[in-house]
């Protein structure tokens, strides 16, 4: 009924923002800061990319602006929780609400439309044809010709794994994330490590946002992230604390969404189908919890 192979491009397209944002959550979580504000950072990135690419007529400058927008909001969150000692969860939720309202306001101020930015002549980021692989029959069209950020996201997985596991910063992050008092007693600058991790998280959120507004479409719409930041949070938890796990979880969640989209043509009630992306995380958490329980028992 479903042509799974034919779904591969759709899966990659749907999964890309989840992988990018999931890696962002992963990096900050390792350092002990759960980035609840990832959704708002993605939204800000998505809008910044559209606006700057429209103004400069350069897609790459748009991407840079998206990354910066994510990082700026991350810095803001860091000021709130580290300098002003505000609660992490409340600050993150506040950031998400402010980002939703702020991007809508900016959209209205720039275009006179509160819904969509289609009047802005914004650009898209290019597709990449992989040399050699492109020529392989069957496989070629599946693996080649995706958006540059899709490849960037996949490439970022090993890079993040290396950052976390093999670099002094990564070691400090893991120490701070697990036991900040002990890390501080050793002389690890806890604050600096957490701020750095949060800024990296913001950059990933910005990239995820840019993919949404500049990947396949060339417009920004109100609340275009539609909860993907929260699904990325779930992807990180489902990833058992590994970058590879986060990617696998993001792909699993992306696959269910892609299947849902493709099933809509088969007369299955769409309301039921739309529930699938929310049921999968629940199912995954149940399996996760049962496995952990069994492991602890023995």
């Amino acid at each position: 009924m479903i042509d799974l192979l034919g779904l591969v491009p759709a899966i990659l397209r749907v999964s890309t923002p989840l992988i990018l944002a999931g890696l962002g959550v992963h990096v900050s979580s390792r350092a002990g800061v759960l980035n609840i504000g990832i959704e708002g950072m993605m939204l800000a990135g998505a809008l910044a990319g559209v606006v700057i690419s429209a103004l400069t007529q350069n897609a790459w400058l748009g991407l840079v602006a998206a990354l910066l927008a994510g990082a700026v909001l991350a810095a803001l969150l860091s000021v709130a929780i580290h300098l002003l000692r505000a609660d992490l969860v409340l600050s993150g939720i506040a950031l998400n609400m402010a980002a939703l309202a702020g991007t809508t306001l900016a959209l209205f101020a720039l275009t006179g439309d509160k819904g969509i930015s289609s009047s802005l002549p914004s650009l898209t980021l290019p597709m990449v044809r992989l040399p050699l692989i492109d020529d392989i029959p069957i496989l070629g069209p599946l693996l080649s010709g995706h958006n540059v950020l899709t490849y960037a996201g996949l490439l970022a997985v090993p890079l993040v794994a290396i950052l976390v596991n093999r670099t002094p910063l990564g070691l400090a992050m893991r120490a701070v994330g697990e036991n900040p008092e002990a890390a501080a007693a050793t002389g690890v600058p806890v604050l600096r490590v957490q701020v750095t991790a949060l800024l990296i998280s913001g950059l990933f959120a910005g990239a995820a946002g840019a993919f949404l507004s500049m990947g396949y479409v060339s417009w920004f719409s109100q609340n275009m992230t539609a909860g993907r930041g929260f699904i990325a949070l779930a992807a990180d938890v489902m990833g058992f604390g590994y970058a590879w796990g986060t990617m696998a979880a993001a792909l699993l969640l992306g696959t269910t969404e892609a299947i849902t989209l493709s099933l809509q043509g088969f007369g299955v009630p769409s309301e039921l189908l739309q529930a699938i992306p929310y049921l999968v995380p629940v199912l995954a958490m149940v399996i996760h919890a049962r496995r952990r329980k069994r492991r602890e028992a023995h």
Binding site: A175, A185, V188
Partner: protein, 501 residues
Amino acid sequence: MIRFEHVSKTYPNGTVALSDVGFSVAAGTIHAICGENGAGKSTLMKILSGLELPSAGSISINGEPVRPDSPRAAAALGIGMVHQHFSLIGSLTVTENILLGQEPRRGPFVDRAKARARVLDLAARYSLDVDPDAKLATLSVAAQQKVEILKALSRDTRILILDEPTAVLSPPETEELFRRLVALRESGLTILFISHKLKEVRALAQQVTTLRAGRVSGDAPMSAISDDEIARLVMGEAGTSAIVRPEPQSAEARITVRGLTLRARDANDRLDAIDLAIRPGEILGIAGVDGSGQRGLVKVLTGACQPDAGMIAWDGKSVAGANTGALRRRGLAHLPADRFRDGGSRRLTLTENALAGAHRNYRFGPLLKPRAMIETTRGIIDRFAVRCPGPLAPLGALSGGNAQKIIAAREFGSNPRFLIVDQPTRGIDVAAANFIQDQIVALARSGCAVLLLSADLDELLRLSTRIVVLYAGRIVASLPNDPELTPARLGPFMLGLEVAA
């Protein structure tokens, strides 16, 4: 070598931790610092290791005035600290823990091969063998302490501070540690040893400084001072009280355990066909090296988990399937080994900690009666002589001994029929320990059945009616506590060299 002059520390909340402390430490010696909990020992060492700054006074090393304002700065001065609660991270490897913050690099990466070699080199130099690749959480407490010591020695350390290092160790592990410390001293290190166990101070130190209520109460070479004098300087007027081992008040066992078995990955939880009977009025002592099944025994008896086989009976009736709440309604009280993790909440107030569970007695409709609760807590603070800012202070603001008193007051005050006390006096000062021990004995005399788990053999021998030795989850000896029973007699059982079952 190290000289403290007029060092004072007043916390922002007004607590005076240290006032006008002055003494010197000679290079290449082991210098003991004794004092009750809350006497200021830990604060003084935190100042020396850069975790806190003094409010007044000065410290000099080799004549140079120093003022370490961070652990890093202290490390640069050659000061390394072995914390009582280790500053280690469970999911990291031994190598990562030791070199955290100073890892060798190759380009942007940690040079793993070099890091490993450095740890092996360090371990060989101080003959402290550790597995550099083991994940820390999988190691025993004694092995973790070795890692903590190596970490403190890893930065050209000349002064090593140990805060209550034996609190978590079994007797053979303690002996091993002492041999290492003597070897370290012989290699030229200056060691500051914080303890309130006089026997250990006697065995190790050349000089002792006593602190009481934030002031130096004595400073003398070990050869010129007797144990009694040290005890007097530490505790003031009060002395150690002799305790008579309580006698069972009935032949009928209140708690019977038959064939209790718990299969677990962690040796600390594993139990293999345990048989026990505890009669009203007696204290049954459990001896054994760390990780012999004590934790599993407590878990099963408190209803935190169900056994894989065997049964537990109260007054001859099985309590299979009963959870902690149900057992507590039958009269269980439990003073846990980790007072801050399982015993109480650091962030809640003394009142909330002291009356949790009993809070239902302070109801006014759906609300609680805070004033009555605070009054009761004030009574507990007075009766148990708890040193604290007041009944609304958070538990975390108290020293270990004072926090333990608050939790003990809660557990002992519930009129228990079966009391489990797990390491009741670990890491707390002599006065508080004596007090808590007296309370345990008083409860036993009033007809409560008591199970006492302790790593402190003196405590077991002083309090217990009978002593059972656990080894690898099994009972290897069950002995009446008569004058012939000594630590030397228990040692071989605890190490699994002998079985008398």
